[in-house]
Symmetry: C2
Subunit: 229 residues, 2 copies
């Protein structure tokens, strides 16, 4: 957490977030009012934050990772935009360490070259749109970072990603899987395009598929920037 | 800067970096040995860091943004990999606030959905490879974040990006331009796909092109995640 994010939490009168994330920062919250909700209640949670801010309170909405990357920043701004113009509270988005950046740091240096970030969650996006993006990212030889690769209910999409990627990339293309990046339960696995879906992947995993130049050495995944070394 | 990055700098005996970045953190460096070099001397700089680390010194190599995104992490790992196995120093990559995340936070919430990150610098990558990636990112309806959009010498590429994007996206697609994100000289401009190349763009700019759903409201650029609000 950056000092700026910490300061914003300390300055706020009300902290709003998913229960699990409130729990992660409870040491910062002794005298705060908190509004916690379960997963899948994003709209209620952000609406509660906007409502409180419209009463004049200083409110912090917390996300894990970067709130500006698949996080709560957009939903808060969308809900603020639905209020009467004169009453819209001011919103400041404070960037954080993204899950993709955290995962990359644990794997080595896979994001030294152009990359695409794709969420496989089809709750809010049609699978055909997601699949097209995977196809284009593979065809463009992007390093591909995958959020929400798999859940208990949703298991086939990551297999489809593997099949699409194998049409253009070598079977031994490095693939990194990171769980709980930068948290205490953090772990990582280096695998290959051919084999990575046999590894443990769940909703806490972030998967990074290398481009045609990515290699592994000494347990690190490296995408060369192109320097002649 | 995260506390973890700050601690690593404080713990290091030698700090290596581009002169401009050393200057940005000089308050942290009173009693440190520093090795600074100009731009375009990345290999010399990272090799010096590796050489010092092989003598047993604790060395910090600093990047702006996230060292794992087009940063120095990869070059350091590549150079370490060329040393005899028994003498290779241990490398820890500490993630930071990426330039793309910082720029997004200033623009609003443009990265709420899948995005591609592309550098237009053709110093280390053939232009044909870059252009293909732009085409694929546009075809996949990715939000597109562009590093190194333009330099004094290199001015035509961003115009080509505009032309490719206009083939698939509306002329009024929002485009955000951010300079010096999170630094004192920070500024941002909201424009459209049709017009953005008329704005000031240089090597300190980061450009974010919206996808087909991105809109602007109250001076903010928002890509909806897809919630029904």
């Amino acid at each position: 957490m950056t000092p700026r994010a910490r300061q914003a939490i300390e300055d706020a009168e009300i902290i709003v977030g998913y229960d699990t994330y409130l729990d992660l920062i409870k040491a910062l919250l002794p005298a705060k009012t908190t509004i916690g909700t379960g997963m899948m209640q994003e709209i209620d949670r952000c609406q509660a934050a906007v409502d409180k801010a419209m009463t004049g309170k200083q409110v912090a909405v917390i996300s894990s990772g970067d709130p500006g990357i698949y996080g709560m920043a957009g939903l808060v701004l969308e809900l603020v935009g639905k209020q009467p113009a004169a009453r819209q509270p001011e919103v400041e988005v404070i960037p954080g360490i993204s899950a993709v950046g955290a995962a990359a740091s644990i794997l080595g240096a896979p994001l030294m070259h152009d990359f695409a970030v794709i969420s496989l969650s089809d709750l809010l996006t049609p699978w055909e749109v997601i699949k097209k993006r995977v196809e284009m990212a593979v065809a463009g030889d992007f390093v591909i970072a995958i959020y929400n690769p798999k859940s208990t209910r949703r298991t086939s999409q990551i297999e489809t990603v593997r099949e699409i990627a194998l049409k253009h990339r070598q079977a031994d293309t490095p693939v990194g899987i990171v769980h709980h990046a930068t948290r205490t339960k953090e772990d990582m696995t280096l695998s290959t395009l051919d084999n990575f879906t046999k590894e443990h992947i769940d909703m806490f995993s972030l998967v990074i598929i290398g481009n045609s130049q990515t290699y592994t050495a000494n347990g690190k995944m490296i995408t060369p920037r192109g320097y002649h070394v």
